[in-house]
Every structure is written in structure tokens, then in C-alpha cells.
Symmetry: C2
Subunit: 338 residues, 2 copies
Amino acid sequence: MKKKTTIHDISKALKINSSTVSRALNNSPRVSQKTKDLIQKKAIELGYQKNILASNLRTNKTNTIGIIVPRISRTFFSSVISGIEETAYNAGYNVVIGQSLESFEREKELVSTLLSNRVDGLLISVSMGTTNYDHLSNFKTNGGPIVFFDRPITMLDTPSISIDDYEASYNATKHLIKNGCKNIVHFSGFQKIALYKRRTEGYVAALTDNDIPIRPEYILESQLSEADGIEMAKKVLKLPKVDGIYSSNDTAAISAMQHFKKNNIKIPDDIAIVGFNNDPISAAIEPNLTTINQPDVEMGIIASSLLIELIKKTIKTPSEHSKTLGTELIIRQSSQKL
Amino acid sequence: MKKKTTIHDISKALKINSSTVSRALNNSPRVSQKTKDLIQKKAIELGYQKNILASNLRTNKTNTIGIIVPRISRTFFSSVISGIEETAYNAGYNVVIGQSLESFEREKELVSTLLSNRVDGLLISVSMGTTNYDHLSNFKTNGGPIVFFDRPITMLDTPSISIDDYEASYNATKHLIKNGCKNIVHFSGFQKIALYKRRTEGYVAALTDNDIPIRPEYILESQLSEADGIEMAKKVLKLPKVDGIYSSNDTAAISAMQHFKKNNIKIPDDIAIVGFNNDPISAAIEPNLTTINQPDVEMGIIASSLLIELIKKTIKTPSEHSKTLGTELIIRQSSQKL
């Protein structure tokens, strides 16, 4: 039996890259008519015609991917989105974005909007307010595949791309201890979010491994907004002898720093600080903020490549493609006591 | 003849606010079944039934608004979007967002995606690469109304909500002159964008009014990215005796500042700097950056309220609703020479 002709064969025969071939066969407006004619002629010549038909038959597709994030204004999410868009665009998909603003209601409405827009698949970082996943199960049944990113969720046949939050927190806390901190406050997000829970666990483990007692009053929980950072800074100043802070994001770390600076608290000498996310502002503020860099763009690329494979059904066991990415502690001035 | 029953009458009779009444009558999932029953019963009782039918008949609506911006990661755009979303959400609309990344091609594809998603209307700040508006005319004909924001465009029956760029630039440049600057460089965006052209005109006018000659080599044109800021800073250091910079955005102003700081140029004593946008980073960097604050959230609220009125056809002369908003010069350390 003759081997099936693939896009790769046409690509080789014409010395045209395979994504262009694929686009031409899908009649994408991005390929010139001249190139399309050339490719379609070669496809027929090599016996690819049957697959073209199959592909047209198969596709009730819109070539659109939906993204839902808590907030587009967070640098981390806009960077993930840029990774998603590059990958999607190069594969011939457009991208529409919605933000839940951490609200379960809004997330449900967005999922239902994207469903009625017939997007081919969904990339989502669920809101802090989300309490069940029926809306996502419904999307999977009636819409298309889902890939979770950043905030991993356990759902049948649905992979998650996230970072190793435990390890990142452990390293950040250990770094503060190495720099002489003994009374370290932790700015935490809400513990019902798995990601924040694991960050707290990393903090607790680093203290325990270094024989530092865990004091529950040193773990401050909030949405980690700018205003929360100021509130938590005020609480820190009422606690005895705090000499370090590990914050689960840069936003809260930076507004706390600004509050401390106004109150003549010296950073890092009085209080050393480590943030999370490596927002651009962390490198601009003085002293520069030590923080954790996440592979945000890479996360977007991996998540969207995976989603596109799921849309194309080239993957049979989605859950096996979940991935945990490493992070990097970027040591700057805010944490290095003299 | 009996006066027509309005939503307001039902609202008053039941002491339930009118947006809830409106949602209930549109069978929104956001209103509980119990409240819906109550409202619908009262609506029939007061003779509102006929309007419900009319409303159902009228709507081939998706209750979704599309937004297209150049970049969601720019603080200005994410703030406008938050203003749009609040207004839209309260009026019962969901919002989907696309970013053009300043590319005409991407913008065209996004408009076509939103058109096939049957969004009810479009809010757009056009890309720097956009050279004609056929895609937008097409959307208007086959989709729904459009409101431009930030970057005004002249198009029949299509209003623009923007700021007074000329005045903002004039004030920024005058402020530098008042602080002793005589050789002021202008970081400009591309002149084919009306907004940047008007900012340059404001700069030129302020110099002229103060008898300072215009030197074309002092006007540097770029996309105003972080990298552009560094390149322009290098050019500034090769120009003779520059003592001030007025930049059309904070991004370029801040990366230029960082380059100057590395090269021991004192800000503001050697070179005073004014930016544009009031990005959060402008208040965090040292010295703090003097900048222009735009009413970004307000722009979003006004643009989306207007779009919703256009969708509902309650406005007959759209172009008359174009609006120019005022700005505010926020004076910080970077521009005040001793």
C-alpha cells in the first residue's frame, strides 16, 4: 500500500515551509493566490486531494482560540498572552481575550460567550472566585478542548501548564534566611487557590528546614492588590521585629516598599523583601526588587501549541501532556542585607 | 390615551433597581428565577407585555461588544478597557478583546473574527500600521456600530472619543521651558498617526510662542518602545547641549532615563524629562517622572456608553457625539531643575 501523502511531502517537493503549505490547503487569506495555486496543484499531483476534502469536511472550525485570564493588566498575563498569540497566529488562528476580574459570574458569562462564538478551543487561568467547573465541562462537551495555564485544575482529559510554585517559594524564603532574616512575613494570595497554597507550603517548608518556627500571624492573606500591599505593610509594622517579607506577587511587594520608604524603614537593612513575577516595575523601583521570574511567554507558547494539537486531535492522551515549568530567582538590592 | 408603561414604572412599583428589571425582562441568567417571575408578573399587570415582545422581536443580538486595541499590556489601554467593561457589564453586555500589535493584517483578521462572532458593536483604537478603513466600513455595513477611542479617525456616522493631544503637549513643553530648558528634544510616535502629529504640533507651538527655534533634528520619531527609548537616548547624547526631553509616552521616557542614569547624566539637572500616560512605573522610578495623566477609565466609560446607545439606536446623529477630553500635567521630580 502506498504511503499517505503528507503536508511535509508537499513542503519538501516545493521547498515551501510546511505552515505555508498547511495555510494554502486551508485556503487562508494570508497566502497569495499564486502560491496557493502552486501548492494545490502539487497536492493533487501527489495524491493529497483526499485529505483536503477530509479536512474541509472535518472543519466546522472558526480558526479562533479563546483566552480567559483574571486580569489583562497584570504583566504576567499579558506576557503569557503574547506567547499564545504568536504561536496561534503562526498556526493560522486568531485569538479573542476575556478577563474575569477574579469573578466566577463573569467567567461563566465569558465561557458562554466564547461557546456561542464557536471558538475552537479555550486557554484559561481560572478566577479566584471560581467554585466549580460545570461551565468548563459544558464548554468541553459542546465547544472544544481546554488547556489550563498558571492556575492548574484537575479535570478529566484536560492538561495544565504551570510553574513549580512550591520550589520557587522555597528558594525565595531560603534566600531571605541566608541573608540573615529570622522573622519573615509571607504575603499570600487566597489559600483556596492551589497555586497560593503551594507557595505558602514552600515558605513553610523553608522555615521548617532551617529550624525557624512557623507563626500563623506572620502569614497575611489577601488579593495581593496595590491597596492590599499597603494594608499588609501597616500590619507588618505592628508585628514585633519583622526583618524580611516574601510576597506572592510584585504588586503587593512594591506598594508595601513604598509605604515603608515613606515611614523611613530601610530596605533591605531593616526589612528585606522578595517579590514574585518580575514585573518591569520591579527593576525600576529603588532599591530594585528581588523577585521570581516565571517563564511567562514560554508558558503561553507551550499551552497554545498543546491546545492546537488537541483541536487537531493529534494527541490521544491530553492529561499526560500537563507540564510544570521551572522558575528563576532574580537577586537584586531589596533582599541583600550588608 | 394611557401613558406607556416603562421599565422605570416596574422598578418603582417593586422597589427593584431598573437595571435588574431590564435584565429580568431580557431573561438574563444574572437574575434569579424568583425575581424574574416577580418582575414579569408585574410587567404584565402594568401592561408592559407588548414591549417585551417588541424587544425580543428586535434582538438578533449577542449582547457582546468587541474591543480592539494595539496592545493590552500598555497600562493606558488596560485602563480604558476596565472603564469599557464596567459600563458594558452593568448594561448586560459581555466583552471580548483582541490586540492588533500595531499590525494592519492582524487588525483586519480580528475585525473579521468579531464580525463572524456577530458582536453587537466595536470599540477600536486603530493600529499604527492601518492604511485604510475598508475593513471597518465592512463591519459597519454587516456588523454594527463603531466608536473610535484614543486615536480618532474620520469616518461617516462614527464618533471618536479622544483627548486634546495638542493642548497636553503644549502644556508639557511650556512646563519644561518654564523650568529653564532651551534645547528640548521631542520623542515622537509616527507622524502618520493623527494623535502623534498633534502632539508634535503642540510641542512646536509652545517653542514658537516662547521664541525658541524649531530644529528638525530635535524631533525623533519611533514606535516609542522600550528599545526605542534607549536608541533615542543615545542620539540625544550626540546632540549638542540638550537640556530637556518631552516624550510622547512614558515607556520611552523611562528607558531613556535608565540609559542616562547609567551614563551619569543627572536628571533633571542635566536633562529634564516629561513623559505621557502616567503609567504606574512613572511614580515608582527615581527621580519620579513628570507626566501627563489621561482620563483613561473615563474614556472607556464614555466610549462604551455611546456604543451601547448606538446599538440600541437611541442616538440619531452619531458624529455629533465625538468628544475631546482634557488631560492633567502631573509635575514630579524629573522636570524641576533647581
